[in-house]
Amino acid sequence: MLDLLAQTGLNAVYAASYISLVAVGLVLIFGVMGVINFAHGELFMAGAYAIVALYAGLNVPFFLAVAAGLLFVGCLGLLMEKALFRPLKDNPLGGLVASIGFLMILQALAVMGFGVRMVHIPPVTQEVIAFSEKVRLPVARLYVIIAAIVLLSALWYFLKRTKFGWALRASAQDPEAAALQGISITQTARIAMFIGAGLAGIAGALTAPLVSVNPHMGHSVIVTAFIVIIVGGVGSLEGAIVASVAYALVHTFVTTFWDGVLADIVGLSLMLLVLIVKPTGLFGSADRA
């Protein structure tokens, strides 16, 4: 029993890692641009397909392929910012519809390029860290956990300690006042979009060898990310990370001891409860939206 608990805890830490990478990106984009990026799950999917194309297809070394995936998806984010979100700045529903359109295009491209079926990716490493007979952590999962800790710490440093970070947070709080102080809103939007999309991309790339990669994999990712950002409080990065951990724990334990559908119901009910009791989320202030 103790083994099972420890193993489930490890699984939850792994799940929390990639969920928080996706959710933090979504929060960053929402905070700075004020749009809900429905295509965020598909950016995750694009990162996974970068691994399919480069690592499984062209035998590029795994970590090089991950870096390429990060850049590729980050650039997709820049494209979205320039082509969709900037022209639709004054039309919140417009940004939502445009991101849905973009999502369909990305899905269709994945189907056309790689087929509908799931793709097999050769494992990066077979190594397993065995804490005991039944408690094991595959090293491939450890990579995801390390990446999440390193990247989120770097992001925290960037946002709180650098000049760019100050500018970014300023334009998230009050775009007009920030613009009056000489901050380029377009520039901060570009940076936020690149980082936000890139985080989703790297999460997709790192988890690609561990999950079934298919054109529709973004769906469950975006639902999870929504739950997490609502529970954590829209616009709060710390909230998103704490909520990711909490959600991953609850979801993993309910899945292990009951079943997956029930875990989804519990997750959504938690979100609804937070919306009813404290719509700004556990860590949110009523800054935006």
């Binding site: 082509a83 969709l84 039309n91 529903l93 417009g94 519809v97 369909m104 989804d264 919306l275 009813i276």
Partner: protein, 326 residues
Amino acid sequence: MPKFLIWIAALAALIALPHGLSFSQQEILVFLTINVLLVASYRLLTLTGEWSLGHVVIMGVGAYSSALLTKKLGVYVPVSMLLGGVIAALIAVLLSFPLFRMKGFYFLIGSFAAGEIIRLLWKRFRDPFGGAKGIKGIDPMPDFSVGFYQFDFFEPTSYYYFAGVVVAVCLWILWRIEKSPVGLTFHAVHWQDKLAQASGVNVRAYRTLAFAIASGFAGISGALLAHYVGTINPNAFDIDLMVFVLTWAIVGGTATFYGPILGCVVLTVINEVVLRELGLEQMRPLIYGAIMILSILFLPNGLESIVQKLTKRRAAGGAPERSPAE
């Protein structure tokens, strides 16, 4: 009266329409007719300013209710369809208690969560909802004859006529509601909620009323669907269809009654007929997505704004328009 003649001509065209189509196109026509009711009922909800992501699940509530009523209790099919709508409206009233504590973006996400919970409950509980496989062998609409026409519901054409009449009646009711004092109050709740409240309008009650009526008609459209296809499952009412409804409404425009219907018809024809005929099966979602993006970028007030420009040239002035969505 030329306007009267236009209506007669439109009616004749709608009656003649299925006879010029292939079997699969006739089936699409039936789905299109049902979706017209779905999107028109969605507009009633948007009148009060709220955009829900749970509307398709509410449609599913109507479908599941009607299917279970006929299967388990042996209720006569047309009656069960009506009851499906009533149950959908009641569920909406229940949901309104938590959901109308929220507004705007939070309502959008909250309605999504509530809808997903209902949908997952269908998936989780095999008895009575049939689990992931759903309900099979739903009783079809019993055949009947109205003298000059024999309804045979294995024919899509017959079901198209039947659904067409039901949808037309529902649309007429929705239109009457919108033009009634109640409908005007819905507008007031959206655009001047503080003023409406100060004038003694119970804003919450009117929002709930709009939600319940819209859900009732969505439920009827779901029941129409269930008794046509004969099988329903949780995935038939997932977010994908919801996204389509949202797109129809936004691409068509929600300032007029016909806007969302126009969006639904035009996008369905492009998606199902034109792209399919051109043999672009795999590229359909790609082109559809591109159309969505282009129309929101270059036609932010929807297809209806084109129609308004054309008709305004003919009859200067006319009814005051709602300003485009906030």
